[in-house]
């Protein structure tokens, strides 16, 4: 089992095993983001591969102090997907697909454990919060676009986003807290070592 840091190190050494491991771990989640933005599976797959090529080429620019690897990669995928959508002159209707249409491409055969995880993660997340995460996070909308789309003030978008993420954090629970605790301990220890 490789840690994220070990995978990044492999890619920095131009070892294709690193990018292969990264692909296996994250392509699934990233394709979901790309598909939601471009609205076409083939284009989304193309964007995904182009994004991984950018990740391979630009791994030197990734700064772990600024954020997690997935966050950095998802920004690359999101920006590439938005470019692809603009290039293809997608019409507004594509952009505002209903949530159920998107579900068509979701993996149909999730294991019962995955189903339990899903239920646990989404507990208490009402539709008004899901829609904010869907459009702002997974579809690359700006706050203004979403505010116009839903006809609610930008301040409400912001509040609902915060609430939605708070619910997710609460549902994820102690597992993350332990991960965070270890990360924080590591940061404090290493920062003390550096003069």
């Amino acid at each position: 089992m490789y840690s994220t840091k070990a995978i990044v190190d492999l890619i920095r050494k131009r070892d294709e095993k690193g990018i292969s491991l990264l692909y296996d771990q994250y392509a699934y989640a990233l394709l979901g983001i790309s598909y939601r933005i471009v609205g076409d599976k083939q284009i989304a797959e193309d964007v995904l591969n182009k994004s991984f090529l950018k990740i391979w080429d630009n791994i030197g620019k990734y700064d772990e102090k600024k954020g997690a690897l997935f966050t950095w990669m998802s920004r690359i995928v999101k920006n590439s997907s938005l470019d692809a959508r603009r290039a293809k002159s997608f019409v507004q209707t594509n952009k505002t697909d209903s949530l159920t249409n998107s579900a068509y491409y979701l993996e149909a055969t999730k294991s019962s454990t995955a189903k339990l995880d899903t239920d646990k993660l989404l507990t208490g997340l009402d539709d008004k919060y899901k829609v904010i995460l869907e459009y702002l996070y997974l579809r690359g909308y700006t706050q203004k676009e979403l505010s116009d789309e839903l006809e609610i003030p930008i301040g409400t978008v912001k509040t609902r986003l915060k609430k939605a993420i708070d619910i997710l954090r609460k549902n994820i629970g102690p597992e993350t807290n332990m991960t965070t605790f270890i990360s924080m301990l590591f940061i404090i220890l290493t920062s003390n070592l550096i003069p």
Partner: protein, 98 residues
Amino acid sequence: MTSKNNIESGLIELYVLDVVSENDKQYIEQKIKTDYSLKKDIKEIEYALYRYAELHGIHVRPKVKKSFFTNIKNWSLAKGLRNRFSLFILVFLLNSIL
């Protein structure tokens, strides 16, 4: 703005989603360097969003990954050729000057 205020205002969530202004982005990136509780919050938000994205993922067909590795080999080859060509031009120019 204090860290507590940042957290309460929802700015951190927007930062992680990369939908903040350049000024706010720089402000938070500066704060992360020294504010451990802010860094902890960002890590938790990133992880929560990653889990959410994972939940909404789409199966990647094996042929898509295979095609990626064909692309990467072609890309590396093209980059190598570009580098050699640039080197050749550089040597040619230096020769012409000297």
